[in-house]
């Protein structure tokens, strides 16, 4: 069957009333879940999975695909408006999106974010449609050392966050990496840093750390300011709106972010967070306005936004062609397929092309509809800004506590979250960067697991990371990125040094 007829089948499948309706519902659920701190789109997909038992396989996949696409964007709404990333991948959106909101440009920031996300997601869905088989062949060659190298690339991108003081940024990163080692180790089952406290053996969850540092830390910081709590009020949108010229001016950032997102997304295990952080780092160097990053720069928001949504379609390439879920979200989609007795893999393209091409087309349509869903939910969310700051602050803390509790239904997580909230206040007060710490907590467990399993599979040979061509190439890219990012600082120091 030729491509045109396959696509026609996909279009017919996507626009079948039932499939289309569940996709729209999925999109709305995803955007709302993504926007609520602590309730990620992965939680929403997991909660929605039992409902797919009752659906035909095609509808189940369009439903979950809708939640996935909407959820990856949804996290940016709260990141931009209240500095709380709804999902880990939205973390870089806080760095430039939130300062724009504080300037009263939340509408403009959201317009840039929605546009960038939609373009990134759309390009990724097109890549999924037309480039799945060749990409799958490359992904098949990836093993643990390559996953480790990809994670290191994500970790190294912390230099992008570092402004002037790289020492403190790397210190914050290593502190996050150390916090991530609390609990039972992934290979031997030994409890680390538990001090005999049973609750610590289950580890420190990154969502809890993220909510504590960003949500509670921010609210505590605002309550301490002697200006009648007007800081939250300043976020009311009184600034200029995004025009077509604004959106056009970030086309290069969107293109770079999309490219990076597509490349990272296809690597199983890397995911939207790594893609968004790397895109931010690359954009900081490539945009030529790196010294202004973190103050509310359009390019600093557009690049990670496009990158994280560009991972959505790309992440489905290894899922559909190889049956390898590259992330928690695609693992849930794999579960949905298996529940319906469908085994993803190269054969699926021959045995059930209607399903495959309906998924492809529904991903394209979902990314277009995401603009409408995103605007609607963002408008509703923006109404929050009218609430008096003292009331809003109180309920942000309450929702954060519920979000932390909801991760594992564990009261200990509430205490950890509040402790990190206090730490967030102290870090902010002393101008100590907190974002690298969060990045370390997110990527630390992945890096350790890939490192140890790589060595366990290769007779403890550390050289395995540099003797395998793809792993060595990714590590070389990390090194080059580090040098590229540090070069301006080095030259500045060199010029400042006495002759």
């Amino acid at each position: 069957m030729d491509l045109v007829s396959l696509l026609t089948q996909g279009i017919a499948g996507t626009f079948a009333p039932y499939n289309f309706a569940v996709m729209v519902i999925g999109l709305i659920v995803g955007v709302v879940a993504g926007a609520l701190p602590g309730i990620s789109f992965v939680n929403a997909m997991a909660m929605a999975l039992p409902f797919t038992y009752l659906m035909p396989p095609v509808a189940a996949m369009t439903f979950l695909g809708g939640i996935y696409v909407g959820g990856v964007f949804g996290g940016s709404i709260s990141a931009i408006l209240i500095n709380i990333p709804g999902t880990p991948a939205s973390l870089p959106s806080c760095w430039d999106g939130y300062p724009m909101s504080r300037r009263g440009e939340s509408g403009r920031a959201l317009a840039i974010a929605i546009t960038a996300s939609a373009v990134g997601g759309l390009m990724s869905a097109l890549l999924l449609t037309f480039g799945a088989p060749p990409f799958a062949r490359i992904a098949l060659t990836f093993d643990q050392p390559e996953f480790f190298a990809a994670t290191i690339l994500g970790i190294v991108s912390v230099v992008a966050i570092a402004k002037e003081d790289a020492w403190r940024s790397f210190l914050s990163l290593f502190m996050g990496l150390a916090v991530a080692t609390v609990g039972i180790d992934p290979l031997y089952g030994v409890a680390r840093f538990s001090f005999g406290v049973p609750a610590l053996e289950s580890g420190v969850n990154f969502v809890v750390v993220m909510i504590g540092l960003f949500a509670i830390g921010e609210v505590l910081d605002l309550i301490c300011q002697r200006q009648d709590q007007s800081a939250l009020g300043r976020r009311r949108d009184g600034g200029r709106r995004a025009g077509l010229a604004d959106l056009w001016s970030v086309k290069g950032s969107i293109a770079r972010g999309t490219g990076i997102g597509c490349m990272i997304g296809v690597i199983p295990g890397a995911g939207a967070t790594v893609g968004a952080v790397i895109a931010y780092g690359v954009e900081k160097q490539a945009s030529g306005q790196g010294d202004r990053f973190g103050t509310g720069v359009d390019a600093g928001l557009a690049a990670p936004e496009s990158a994280k949504n560009a991972t959505t379609g790309a992440a489905m390439i290894p899922l559909l062609t190889l049956g390898i879920p590259g992330s928690a979200a695609t693992a849930i989609m794999l579960a949905a397929l298996l529940i319906h007795g469908i085994n993803p893999g190269p054969l699926l393209f021959a045995t059930d092309p209607r399903l495959v091409y309906t998924v492809f087309v529904s991903m394209i349509v979902a990314n277009l509809l995401m603009i409408v869903a995103g605007v609607a939910v963002a408008r509703g969310f923006a109404q929050l800004m009218r609430i008096p700051p003292a009331v809003l602050g109180a309920f942000i803390v309450v929702l954060s506590v519920i979000g932390a509790f909801g991760v594992r239904n564990n009261i200990f997580d509430i205490h950890v979250c509040l402790a990190f909230g206090v730490a967030g206040l102290v870090m902010k007060r002393f101008d100590f960067p907190s974002a690298p710490l969060v990045l370390g907590v997110i990527l630390g467990p992945l890096a350790e697991r890939y490192f140890l399993t790589s060595l366990a599979n290769h007779d403890d040979r550390v050289s395995v990371f540099v003797t395998r061509p793809i792993s060595a190439t990714i590590l070389a890219m990390a090194l080059a990125f580090l040098a590229w990012a540090m070069w301006p600082r080095m030259t500045r120091l060199w010029r400042r040094a006495p002759a």
Binding site: A178, V398, F432
Partner: protein
């Protein structure tokens, strides 16, 4: 060259404390240090945390060295305070932190609902919201909404509290048609 004691303390104390903490933690990775030995090969369960602590110590030492250099040989750049920067109210900070920590401690004892009610009232008062009717209405309606959504709709097992508070929370849940 005289360096003001307060400036020196602010520059040197944080990296010194982190450095000391990292060195201390190296001896406390596991309750039983023998469990950290690798059962095979070089890389046991203690390798990665030790490596990360070494990274913490190295970066803290680097930060300390930079601060020492900055204190001994100031660059001469103006470091005037930003007039736009918000002024901090230390007392409010202490009360805010205390309130948040007390909220976390109270949840398992008096239950999520009552702890949240007290926290919301306390936070609004701390934030300068003084209208009694407004405070009561926002706190009661807000907490009822939160309980209805998360305990009733999302079926989250929020803490009920202990003793008499458990019974009172169940009564509130019945009133809200959650049970």
């Amino acid at each position: 060259m005289a360096v003001p004691a307060r400036r020196a303390a602010a520059g040197l104390l944080p990296p010194l404390l982190i450095l000391a903490a990292a060195l201390w933690l190296r001896g406390h990775v596991a309750v039983d240090p023998a469990s950290l030995r690798a059962s095979r090969g070089l890389f046991g369960p203690g390798f990665w945390p030790m490596l990360m602590l070494a990274g913490v110590a190295f970066c803290a030492a680097g930060w300390l060295a930079m601060n020492v250099v900055a204190l001994l040989w100031p660059s001469g750049r103006a470091t005037d305070a930003d007039p736009q920067a918000p002024r901090y109210d230390t007392l409010r900070a202490i009360v805010g932190v205390g309130l948040a920590l007390a909220y976390g401690a109270a949840i398992p004892v008096i239950g999520f609902g009552f702890a949240t009610l007290l926290f919301v009232v306390g936070w609004m008062l701390l934030g300068g919201y003084r209208r009694p009717l407004g405070v009561a209405a926002v706190a009661l309606l807000g907490v009822a909404g939160v309980l209805w959504f998360f305990a009733g709709i999302a079926l989250m097992p929020l803490d009920l509290g202990k003793g008499a508070f458990e019974g009172a929370t169940v009564a509130v849940y019945r009133l809200l048609r959650i049970y």
